[in-house]
Structures are given as C-alpha cells and as structure tokens.
Symmetry: C2
Subunit: 393 residues, 2 copies
C-alpha cells in the first residue's frame, strides 16, 4: 500500500489523498519544523513511503537524529481533528492552496549550512484566506518590538496604503511594528497573514490573542508547527524565513541594532527578495538598525509606498521611444546609451534606465550627474528626464 | 620682460613675483570666475604672457568671448590695495598657501562640458587661517536653507564634534544648515572656511554679516570672485564646486528635493570625494532630498561622526592576524577569503573586509549574512566579528 503510494509518487502525488495527508501530518509532528534531510527523502520516495521509513526507523543516519525522539508518536488523526475543531486546516504540498512558487527560493538554499533552510513540510492555518491567493502580492512588514510613536505611525500608514491597494501584509504578530502593520491592514479591510513560531492554537504573545483572533476571522494565521507546540528561540529564526518567503519583499520600519528584523532581512536577501528599510531621526535607537542596514547596503532606503511597490512589484520596463539626435549628438558609450534610454517625454528611475539601456546601475548612477551638469538631463521627484522634453513642453 | 617671464615660466614660476601677482589679479578681474581656456593658456605660456595676450587681444577664438568685455579694465593694483585694506589677501598658485593638491580633481574634469569645471585662477581671502593648512583635514557640511529644528541640531552636533577633533568645517555661509555648521565650529574654537559666490567684501546673505565677520576673525572667508562682485546664479554652481574641492568629503544634513546641496554632492562625486547624507523622519520635506540621494546611491547614509571620518578620513586598513582553521574549514572561495579577512579578535566593517580580502564590496555584503546564518560570524555596532572570538573571550 505504502509501496503503491511510493510508486504513485514517481508519477506525481497520486496515492490515497487521506493516507498522504496523514503521512504529512505525522511527519510534521515528528520533526516539528523544517528538516532538510526529511524533505529530500520525501522528494525521492514520496511522503507515504517516507512516513513508513520514519515509523520503522529504516533511515539514513542524517535522519535518525531528528526523528528518533518522536517517531513513535502518531497523533496525525487527532491533530487533524484538533485543527478542524479550531476551524482551521493543514495545508500540504498536495493542496492547491500550497504556494509552491514561493518555496522555490527555499529549495535553492544550502540546507547543509543551517537547519532552517528547508521548505516547510506542511503549514497549519486558521482563517478564510487562501494562502496561495494571499501571497500573490504580499509585502512582509516587520520591525522592532519596542518601537517609537514615529515607527508605529509609519508602519500604520504604509500598511494601510499597501493593503488598500490590494497588497497582503505579512508579519509576525509581535509587539510594536508587527502588530501595527496587521492592525492597519485589518482597519482598511485588507488582507493580512500572521506567521507564528508556535502552534496556531497558541496566541503568542498572549496579549495579542484578540488581534490573532481578528486576523483568523478575515485573514490567515499560519505556522509550520503543529497545534500545541509553544515558541522556542530557534523556531523564531525558522518563522522569520517563512515571513520572508511569503512576501515579495521585506520592509523593516524600525529596528534596533540587535532587532530580529535583521534576521528576516537576511532571509529575504538569501531568497532573492528585495529588503527595504525606513529611515528615521539619527538620534533614535529604534532606527539605528535600519540606518545600519541601509548604510551597509543590506536594505534599500524607502520612504513611500511607491518606492516599495517599485521594488516588490513586477518590473515596469519603459517602452522605448524616439530619440531626438541633436542635443546629445556628441555623447558616446554609456552616456549615449543612458541618454537614449530616457523617453522623449516623462521620467525614469536609474534602475529603469539600467534595465532599458543594459548599462549596469552603478555606471548609470555615475553618469547621470555628469549629464545633468551638462544640462542634458534633469531630475525631479518622478525621476530623471531629458531637459529637451521640458523645454519643449 | 613679459617674454622673459614667459620663458621663466617654462622652468617653473620664476619671473618677477609682483608682476606675476598683478597678472593673476588682472586676469581674475577680467574673467571673474573659472575659465578653462584661460587656465590652459596660462599653463602653456605662463601667467604674465597670458595676461599680455589678453590685454592685447592676441587670443585663440575660445578666449575672445570670455575676455573681450573687460580686458581693458586693469584694476589689479587697486584690487590688491582693496583686499589689503580689508585685511585680506589674494592667494595665487604661486603662493605656498595655494592648496594645489586639492585642485587635482578639478584638473581632471571635462572642461568642455561645463564652464565651472576649471581650477580657479586665484582665491580672494580674508582670515588668519592658511588655506593650505585649513583644507588638510576638512569636511564640507551643507544643506537646506529652510532647515528644520532637527536639521539644525544634527548639523550643529556633527560640526561641533568634527571641529573639536581638528577637522575644518567648509560651507557656504547660507541660511540654515550652512550657518549652523559654521557657528558650531566657531563655538568650539575650531577651524571653519566660508566659500562665497561673491566678493569677500560683500556679506552674502546680508543678514550674515556678523557671522562672516566672525569667520574672517578666526577662520577663513574665500571666493574666486574679486572684491565688489555680487552673487549671480551661475556663480553659486561654481562656488559649490569649490566647497566640494576644499573638503575631503561632502556631508548633506538636510536637503529638499530641489536643494542646491544636491549640486554640491554631484561635484563631490565628480571629484572623487565621498558624498554623505544624514537621514531624517520620512515625513519631513527637508529630508526628502537626503533620502533620495541615499536611495539612488548618490550619497552614503551616515549618522555619526565616526561614519563620516570613516569615509572622509585616510583608509584604516586592518592588520592581518592569525586565522584559526577549524570553524571555517569547509569554506571555499569568497567566503573563505572574507572569513580569513576577519581578525581573530575585534570587528571589521564590510568595506574594510573588501579592502583586506580583495573581494568586491557587493560580494562581501552578500556573503556576510550567509556566514552569520551559519553562525561563523556575528555583527554588532562595531562591525562584523568571528563568533569564535566571542566564545573564546
């Protein structure tokens, strides 16, 4: 039977759906969190056969450690009842709701190096949102637990604006910035997803039980830990990777020098997601981490929702337009290419010019000021434009 | 005689010093500001012969335009009396005080492209400071005229701190940030240089006559425009280039999207000087220009005097130290090189690691987070360190 299932596996997830689901849930309870060796075993022999192998301890050495302690606990059926009783569900890679494309980044990480770098086995969820739909256009908004009034205001304004434009706000339901981001999304009837480092039946922090209930009412509360599991330190690191995974980008609104938000930003960068940070007053300790990340090139400075969508949204390549020859006739090389990439009317940002011209961004940024001093191009809050276009218009 | 002087020129500035000085001053009055064609004529035939050629209008076409209108005015002797009466002096390239090494960047600019891109002929000066000494360790602190209380406070604190550590504060004596920077330097008995876009006998803005008098008492007020010349728009652009030229770096404390500080930053970058900007609250219009320059990579975000000295000061290359092999034995390529560049004890900044390892900064910044997730390195407010060094200590 499990043999059949394993064979079925080779031709894609056939086999008995209920047996497969029980196998996923059993394994989720055994390893509690990401487990790269188990994920590769499942990839090669299928989930049912992997479950059987774990149960019967017929395992490669790498898997004995993570599975020995709990392999004899099979509470899969009970766990499914529990999550159902909570009005929730378990989302497995077999389900349409599984955001497989989101996990591709995780697939490509070096799982040798750190235990969190693996695709979750399943996601336990509460709430009406489809995870697949919710994570189609999503931004992770995270930050300091001890945030300032300034930080809370900025987090609220940006999250309201993003949620109002149909973006899902993903965060960790922590005190401070996280909570402000979730509340702002709820306030405008937007989509929000809370990713927990404990079971979805455990409100963490406890003071946020009502916030989490509200998110579960209209949004989604998810965790890769089965019901009943409480939050452990290393689980927060794994949780941060999920927050980064579920967003098109990570925005840090406020962060002290040692804020956990920095860890989420690192995951974003490893996953190839844009990492963004909001600046603040230089004297503010709760902005020091943001300033450091911006200064060190770990995060891009953003101040407006437009900046964020520009980074996290799909690339908006400008349409090539006719180039009047005269004004820039003497230009050569990169200067000529960059000037040519500017539209006859309208403005472009340096990265758009880089995309358009094929000239690398550093060169674009180095050349534009010279062109401006030569009065061939100008720059305003919309970006760079040809001075000829303004004189004309 | 002028012939002899021209010949002398070929073997360096011999000739009659007084005649040479009169020639410099005459030409400064004729062209009023930077004039690349005249600079190259002087370079080739010497200042006395150049003065004669201008006087007698024996000129290449490029020089006829800039010199025709005033070539018959020779008020050199009177100008020298005027500046002496003001307790000032004229500084020419013949004088020891001339900061020749500062001008090298200007020499290398494309003078075809913009009229300001030229070495000044002379500098008119008031004040006891030697320009050479004053510009040895100098930072240009500039910013918005309509600055916020926040901006004024940051400009004052940073300028006090820099001036207190022996750095000269160079600025433009404008309202707002410029004035705060000058005043802060004066307040701690530090060195400050005001660069004007008009004659040094003209207090501009008029409301700053006492500030300029105070700077002339203990610091230096300089201009490339002869006494009596009032400020014209294009002269501010030329003035900004001098501010950037006289500093080891340019710091923008506050700037609106259209602030002139942006022009000074562009000069700094063309001259190869670091351009730095201080962030502020995202809602503040007077920080919008700083945020844009940081976001677009035109200026580096700085929050502390240490950051500024790190950029503008001489490079502090770390001394290589013994590398314990064990913890990072499995590392290869850039990861290994970057880990090796970390000292056994103490911290390094990414750019130091880049210098030390020869790995480019972008790669260093990309690799460090992976090493941190692998728990091989850590990071605190001093920079990146080996976790082994902390466990050890």
């Amino acid at each position: 039977m499990s043999e059949a299932c394993a064979v079925g596996e080779v031709m894609g997830p056939k086999g008995d759906p209920d047996e497969r689901r029980l196998a996923w849930v059993y394994l989720s309870r055994v390893v509690q969190g990401p487990c790269a060796p188990l994920s590769s075993l499942i990839a090669s022999v299928g989930v049912c056969e992997a479950a059987r192998a774990v149960r019967e301890h017929e395992l490669p050495a790498a898997l004995r450690g993570p599975t020995t302690r709990r392999r004899e606990i099979d509470s899969a059926a009970a766990d499914l009842e529990t999550i159902a009783r909570l009005g929730g569900r378990v989302i497995t890679p077999d389900d349409e709701e599984w955001p497989g494309w989101r996990m591709l980044g995780l697939d490509q990480l070096d799982t040798e190096r750190d235990r969190e770098a693996a695709v979750p086995l399943v996601l336990w969820a509460r709430g009406p949102l489809s995870l697949h739909a919710a994570s189609e256009r999503a931004v992770a908004v995270v930050g300091s637990r001890c945030s300032s009034g300034y930080g809370l205001q900025v987090a609220s304004e940006i999250s309201c604006d993003l949620a109002g434009r149909g973006w899902t706000i993903v965060s960790g339901a922590a005190f401070g910035i996280d909570a402000a981001a979730h509340r702002a999304a709820l306030a405008v009837g937007g989509k929000t997803v809370a990713v927990l480092a404990c079971g979805v039946d455990r409100p963490y922090p406890a003071q946020h039980d009502r916030l989490l209930a509200a998110i579960a009412d209209s949004g989604l509360v998810v965790s890769e830990y089965p019901p009943g599991i409480s939050a452990q330190k290393h689980q927060f690191l794994a949780r941060n990777r999920l927050i980064a995974t579920l967003g098109d980008g990570v925005l840090v609104v406020e962060a002290g020098l040692r804020s956990g938000a920095r860890n989420t930003v690192k995951w974003a960068r490893r996953l190839g997601r844009p990492a963004m940070a909001v600046p603040g007053p230089v004297g503010s300790a709760s902005s020091a981490g943001c300033h450091r990340m911006i200064r060190e090139g770990e995060a891009l400075l953003v101040t407006r929702v437009e900046d964020i969508i520009d980074e996290a949204g799909p690339l908006r390549l400008p349409v090539a337009e006719g180039v009047p020859v005269d004004p820039a006739g003497h230009l050569r090389g990169a200067e000529a290419e960059i000037y040519a990439a500017l539209p006859a009317i309208g403005s472009r940002l340096p990265r758009e010019l880089s995309q358009q011209s094929g000239v690398d961004l550093a060169t674009v940024r180095a050349v534009l000021p010279s062109l401006e001093l030569a009065e061939l191009v100008g720059c305003d809050s919309d970006g760079w434009f040809r001075t000829s276009s303004r004189r004309a218009g």
